[in-house]
């Protein structure tokens, strides 16, 4: 039997938003002992592992998984306010768990996609806009709006999860660890964001994954935003439409390009189709009409399919029972059923 992986104790604890002291109190051990277990200095005895596993709600086998966590340096966030360390720790734990679960499932299931993800060199191509154009070419995306961003990512072998980030306003996170070449890039988007924001967030994260594998001089978030804007709304194709932009026109373009009115206004200003004054006027109008928080013409969210299909593959092709799959993913059966639905017919990832 494998030895206990201290990383997994940290992960299980982080998932519940607990401190070492909380865990120690819950399992009637010293905080120092928990600290030593988590640092790997001391082997965890079986009886202690049992109570820790029970307290953290994971099967014992979960703590023997050989996987490792990736910290914030491997992740890119699209968020709209500063997060506390406690909030970001829970989010990272959720993201790490989903990535590990996906990688475990991919040991049995090989995903062959029509296209691929690439690590692009901004300095050679010229900038984020050129990278976006290049990726559109490589993915053979037709001229005009991208019909379904999630589908395009999955066609290129990326995996998308819609998961709850709670009250925190993290819109998206991506991971493509350099030391795990067999793993596809993974994207996490907040399950509550509307379709237009989901698409922009995903493209922003695709920008990070494609461009930011090597250090750059620029502002990473700004570069990812420029990548996303060009990827969703190529300047050559949209520039004419953005002239004389008004709110009704932005609303009409929103349903065509499936991006928010705000994104259209920002893009129009960046491309020089509207002046700074027009830009400010339009944003004042948006605020006045309450569109900054709730825009008209909602775009429905796009649902990912790959992870669901992989789980279904295990169930149908490999004939694994729900008990097998849930234990394999380090979940209790009840938790698994609660998260993934009774029989997968209504499958939706929620945790």
């Amino acid at each position: 039997m494998n030895r206990v992986n201290p990383e997994m104790i940290v992960l299980a604890r982080d998932l519940l938003g607990m401190t070492q002291a909380d865990l120690a109190k819950g399992v009637a051990l010293n905080q120092g002992t928990i600290s030593r277990y988590e640092s790997g200095d001391v082997e965890v005895p079986d009886n202690h592992l049992r109570v820790i596993a029970e307290f953290l709600g994971r099967p014992e086998s979960f703590f023997r998984w050989p996987d490792q966590r990736y910290d914030a340096s491997c992740m890119y966030h699209r968020k709209n306010r500063r997060l506390s360390v406690a909030e970001i720790t829970v989010i990272h734990a959720k993201v790490n768990l989903l990535r590990i679960q996906a990688s475990r499932l991919l040991k049995q299931a090989k995903v062959t996609s029509n296209y691929s993800f690439y690590r692009l060199d901004q300095s050679k191509l010229g900038g984020p806009e050129e990278c976006a154009q290049r990726l559109r070419q490589l993915w053979q995306l037709p001229i005009g709006p991208i019909r379904n961003v999630v589908k395009s990512i999955e066609r290129a072998g990326g995996m998308v999860f819609r998961c709850p980030f709670g009250e925190t306003r993290v819109d998206g996170i991506s991971q493509w660890p350099l030391d795990a070449p067999q793993m596809p890039p993974i994207f996490f988007v907040h399950e509550d964001v509307p379709g237009d924001r989901e698409r922009l967030t995903l493209c922003h994260e695709v920008g990070h994954v494609a461009m930011h594998h090597m250090p750059t001089d620029g502002d990473l978030e700004d570069e990812a935003n420029r990548f996303a804007a060009e990827f969703l709304m190529p300047a050559d194709e949209i520039a004419d439409d953005l002239k004389n932009l008004t709110l009704p026109k932005a609303a009409a373009l929103k349903s065509t390009w499936k991006v928010s009115m705000q994104a259209l206004i920002v893009h129009a200003n960046r491309l020089g189709s509207i002046s700074d004054n027009q830009y400010q006027y339009l944003f004042r109008q948006l605020s006045m009409k309450g569109y900054r928080t709730c825009e008209p013409c909602p775009i429905p969210p796009e649902e990912p399919e790959m992870f669901r299909d992989i789980v279904e593959f295990h169930q149908k092709k490999l004939r694994w029972g729900i008990g097998d799959i849930s234990e394999f993913l380090g979940e209790s059966e009840e938790a698994f059923r609660e998260k993934y639905g009774q029989n997968f017919s209504n499958f939706r990832l929620v945790g």
């Binding site: 039997m1 494998n2 099967p59 086998s61 979960f62 023997r64 998984w65 050989p66 991919l106 040991k107 049995q108 299931a109 090989k110 995903v111 062959t112 996609s113 029509n114 296209y115 019909r147 379904n148 589908k151 999955e154 066609r155 290129a156 072998g157 439409d241 004389n244 008004t246 709110l247 009704p248 026109k249 932005a250 609303a251 009409a252 373009l253 349903s255 065509t256 009115m261 008209p296 013409c297 399919e305 790959m306 299909d309 992989i310 593959f313 092709k317 490999l318 694994w320 097998d324 234990e327 394999f328």
Partner: protein, 234 residues
């Protein structure tokens, strides 16, 4: 000695103007036909949304232009749906369609706008006609040889949220201003009536024929991993 007789002013006024009608009275006549009126508006509205999503000429249209298009299409649709139907008589008057319902009420299709002139005013619906003499007479419910001799009511619609939503009403005017006296909201239901021929934009999506772009197959490990090995975590 000559006597001066004064005309009965009140009577004369009512001779020249239809008496006021309240919502209940008007709806008693229109109630059985409201679903037809809803179809008259929602059919063209659905077409309009399709065009606005796909046709560049429609993207640039301002609210007034949209209303011209929608009103025209709604009139065409009304002819398709209501011409020859019992209870309806269609009249073309000054290039406008007038729908006479049960020989009691004349219905005209119009765009209405919610306005609030001053901050303390209550928002109210308004027509956007020019105040020509004929228009004033028509919407002040005055009788005249040039206009239908029935009380007039508006089958109106408001374009909301940057022309992404529509709100349809039956509205009644009886003043010399553009203001609507009362308005009854029509329920939002999908257009149900069959249409003759409406050219539709070709569907651009062929999603149902599309494959997912990835396939899932077994790895070598899958055949080797069985039973308890799965759970043990390797």
């Amino acid at each position: 000695m000559s006597t001066t007789t004064f005309p009965n002013i009140q009577r004369t006024l009512y001779d020249r103007q239809f008496r006021p009608m309240n919502q209940e009275e008007m709806l008693n006549v229109l109630e059985p036909h409201l679903s037809n009126f809803q179809d008259v508006l929602l059919g063209p509205w659905e077409d309009f949304q399709d065009y606005r999503e796909n046709d560049k000429n429609f993207i640039d249209m301002k609210e007034g232009d949209c209303a011209v298009w929608l009103t025209m299409q709604a009139q065409i649709r009304a002819r398709e749906l209501l011409d020859g139907k019992p209870g309806f008589r269609l009249i073309d008057l000054h290039q406008k369609l007038v729908i006479v319902v049960d020989e009691k009420i004349a219905v005209t299709i119009k765009k209405l706008t919610m306005r609030q002139i001053q901050a303390l005013d209550r928002p109210h619906l308004e027509r956007s006609n020019y105040t020509t003499k004929r228009n004033v007479k028509l919407w002040n419910q005055q009788r005249d040889a040039e206009i239908p001799d029935f009380p007039r009511v508006i089958l109106g619609y408001q374009l909301l949220k940057e022309i992404t939503e529509i709100h349809s009403v039956i509205a009644y005017c009886r003043s010399r201003t553009r203001r609507v006296e009362w308005a009854h909201a029509l329920p939002l239901v999908a257009a149900s009536a069959p249409i003759g021929f409406t050219p539709k934009i070709a569907a651009t999506s062929n999603e149902e024929y599309e494959d997912k772009g990835f396939t899932i197959s077994e790895t070598d490990a899958a055949t080797q991993t069985t039973g308890t090995e799965r759970a043990s975590g390797q």
